[in-house]
């Protein structure tokens, strides 16, 4: 079986990517809304837009980085185990993985707050991700729920992708020119 046959189609990747976008962009947007009022006090509209373009460009790269290993798992796992239930298991992996990162990030306020034992946290997070991924594929109601949620989230891509590409171009121009 060729690589292209082992990979899920775009129709299946898009919902999983949408879930990732929802979490990655949503997290940044949450903190952005927290910071935005103070920026309004001393940044001009164009400066705020330029800053926002750096944020969106970063989110685009982050979301693709998260998507890549989930897609790559399709190459490694048996087709019926992962590719055929890619949306449910991919979305579950994204939610569990990014959720763990959010919990960890909330503890990382500054250098002195770093959790002492990352070596315990990391295996625990991986274990949770595995369990969630397995369960997501086996329980029909969970599988359908995740698929329905991911499908509905794809509408976000209509906004996030063009905006992010524009932001990436703007950021590149700002950095390289």
């Amino acid at each position: 079986m060729g690589i292209s046959e082992r990979l899920p189609g775009w129709q299946k990747i898009a919902p999983v990517y949408a879930v990732i976008v929802l979490i990655v962009y949503g997290w940044s947007l949450l903190w952005y809304l927290w910071t935005f009022p103070s920026w309004l006090k001393f940044l001009t509209v164009s400066e705020i837009l330029l800053t926002f373009s750096f944020v969106l460009a970063t989110n685009l790269l982050e979301s693709l980085l998260v998507l890549a290993p989930i897609v790559a798992i399709s190459l490694l796992m048996p087709k019926r185990w992962f590719r055929d239930v890619f949306v449910a298991r991919g979305a579950a992996l994204a939610i569990a993985g990014l959720g763990s990162m959010m919990l960890l990030a909330l503890q990382f306020r500054d250098i002195d707050d770093y959790p002492a034992d990352l070596s315990t946290w990391l295996p625990a997070a991986v274990a949770v991700m595995l369990i969630v991924a397995v369960v997501a594929g086996r329980l029909p109601f969970l599988r359908k729920g995740l698929e329905a949620f991911a499908e509905r989230a794809t509408v976000l891509l209509l906004i996030s992708i063009p905006l992010s590409v524009l932001a990436l171009i703007t950021s590149a121009v700002q950095v390289f020119l």
Binding site: I23, V24, W27, S28, W31, Y32, T35, S38, W39, L40, K41, F42, L43, T44, V45, S46, E47, L50, T51, F52, F54, V55, T58, N59, L61, E62, L65, V66, L98, M101, M102, L104, A105, L106, F108, R109, D110, I111, Y114, L118, S171, Q174, V175, F176
Partner: protein, 506 residues
């Protein structure tokens, strides 16, 4: 404006510097620029959050600054010098522009000066005859450099002399927006990282790098900037300063803004515990607008702060000795000052406060003029906005009319006169709008009037006579009606003239 690594910069600048250093050394001490053709260098060293009240140079109980005292033997020493602002953005902007915060409007944390005033800065004023150089470990000042980029020849990135850092903006380029997006938001320390993936990864990596870099030289950990990842040793920073100054093409105007002794206070082993003497400062009542930090905690922090200052002082002494030995300070105005003070009393810890008592407004100022061999003490009130016009005047440069210049006494034959010094705190206002909520302190002679406006429940004043009451413990408002009326009128006239809205540029 070029952005070079420290190594690149030293390599390039060092080629031309050797010859000029030798040539300048041969000239020896020179009179002020007005009477000679060679342009003097201007070297400004800013120690962040260094309160004049904690320096033994000015009579502080602890012997924190023996080197400053030695340096003072060849400098003009200003005893009643005020910063125009109480944190980095307004304080530094006023020093670099000669304007008060209500004019330049860098009044917010990480704030910028009004865009239409960007060419009103020290680098522009000294002009292309000078090599114009800027370095800051504090991103608040780096933001201002970005605004002045057309007028600066070389900017060293904030991490130039650090041991560990994760400053993104300077590596990426992209100007001030990149600093704002990455270092002030996505990767900002003190909050969860706004960048979930890269931010978290960078924090894990930073933690590991810092752990690997820890050294026994610093019992409390490596000195670091507070809200962005920059870790350094004082010895490295001052060594970098020496090499940079030695390499600068001449004539130069060079601005160095060091993080120390800003919190967190981390003195090296040689100074840690030096002031564990059980001494406690006079206890002052908590102010109702203070943070109500317990007295014992403030006293402990004061000890750490004093030790950090002593550490900085020793390193500064080594720097000055090395520069003098190589005759690198001949023909140079050396300005040693701070951007604002530090407040460790009345229940307040730090300097982000609406309170404008002397510990947070009174900063050191020493100016050593070329060839100076005697100490001159100036007791009359002066302001950080006076530094730029004074340097321009002394270096025989044009002093722009917008500067509304007031020259510092003791330099170039200027004598002390009656002058008014303002300090403005307005961080909660939008810089483009009217200043509705702020604190303004006004110093005239021995008197200090503090005006709190926009604070609940009503506007109010405090009035102190600093000659009789240097600790500001006895508020004599509304007594002394004659002096009070005169000062109130002057303060309100100035405030209302300058506190209106600005047009917001797009």
């Amino acid at each position: 404006m070029s952005r070079l690594s420290r190594r690149d910069f030293l390599k390039l600048a060092g080629i031309g510097a050797g010859a000029t250093v030798t040539a300048n050394s041969a000239l020896g001490a020179v009179p002020l620029a007005g009477s000679q053709a060679v342009l003097p260098n201007v070297l400004i060293i800013v120690f962040d959050a260094m309160s004049g009240r904690n320096l033994s140079l000015y009579g502080y109980h602890r012997k924190t600054t023996p080197t400053f005292e030695r340096f003072a033997d060849r400098a003009v020493v200003y005893h009643a010098h005020s910063s125009a602002g109480n944190f980095t953005s307004p304080g530094t902007a006023s020093l670099l522009t000669g304007m008060l915060p209500w004019t330049h409007r860098a009044i917010n944390i990480s704030g910028r000066i009004a865009r239409e005033l960007q060419d009103r800065n020290i680098f522009h004023c000294f002009g292309g005859d000078y090599h114009r150089f800027a370095y800051s470990q504090n991103l608040g000042a780096v933001h201002l450099f970005s605004q002045f980029q057309q007028d600066i020849d070389t900017v060293l990135p904030p991490q130039a002399f650090s041991r560990v850092d994760q400053i993104v903006g300077s590596r990426l380029g992209g100007g001030v927006a990149a600093y704002q997006a990455f270092d002030d938001f996505l990767f900002r320390d003190g909050t969860p990282p706004a960048s979930l993936v890269f931010g978290l990864a960078s924090r894990v990596q930073l933690r590991r790098r810092v752990a690997r870099t820890q050294t026994d030289d610093y019992p409390r950990g490596l000195p670091q900037a507070r809200t962005f990842p920059l870790f350094f040793s004082l010895a490295d920073v001052f060594d970098g300063l020496y090499q940079t100054i030695a390499s600068l093409p001449r004539p130069y105007v060079a601005y160095f803004h060091l993080w120390a002794p800003h919190a967190p206070y981390r003195a090296s082993r040689a100074f840690d515990g030096q002031f564990a003497d059980g001494w406690r400062p006079k206890r002052k009542p908590d102010h109702r607008m203070g943070d109500h930090v317990p007295f014992y905690r403030l006293a402990d922090k004061r000890q750490n702060y004093d030790e950090y200052i002593a550490d900085v002082d020793a390193e500064f002494g080594a720097l000055v000795d090395a520069l003098e030995k190589e005759h690198l300070l001949d023909q140079t105005f050396v300005v040693v000052t701070s951007d604002h003070g530090e407040f460790l009393e009345r229940g307040v810890d730090g300097h982000i406060t609406p309170l404008l008592y002397e510990p947070v407004t009174n900063i050191p100022l020493l100016i050593s003029t070329p060839g100076q061999r005697q100490r001159v003490d100036v007791l009359s009130p002066t302001s950080s906005i006076d530094v730029l016009p004074t340097l321009l005047h002394a270096a025989a440069r044009d002093v722009p009319a917008w500067m509304n210049a007031s020259y510092l006494p003791g330099i170039d034959g200027v004598s002390a006169g009656e002058r008014t010094a303002f300090v403005v705190e307005a961080k909660e206002n939008a810089s483009f709008s009217s200043l509705e909520k702020s604190t303004v302190a006004m110093r005239r002679g021995d008197w200090k009037l503090i005006y709190y406006t926009g604070h609940e429940p009503d506007d109010f004043y405090e009035l102190y006579n600093l000659a009789d009451d240097p600790e500001e413990l006895e508020d004599v408002f509304p007594g002394r009606p004659t002096i009070l009326k005169s000062m109130q009128e002057e303060l309100l006239d100035a405030f209302h003239a300058a506190s209106g809205p600005l047009a917001q540029p797009i």
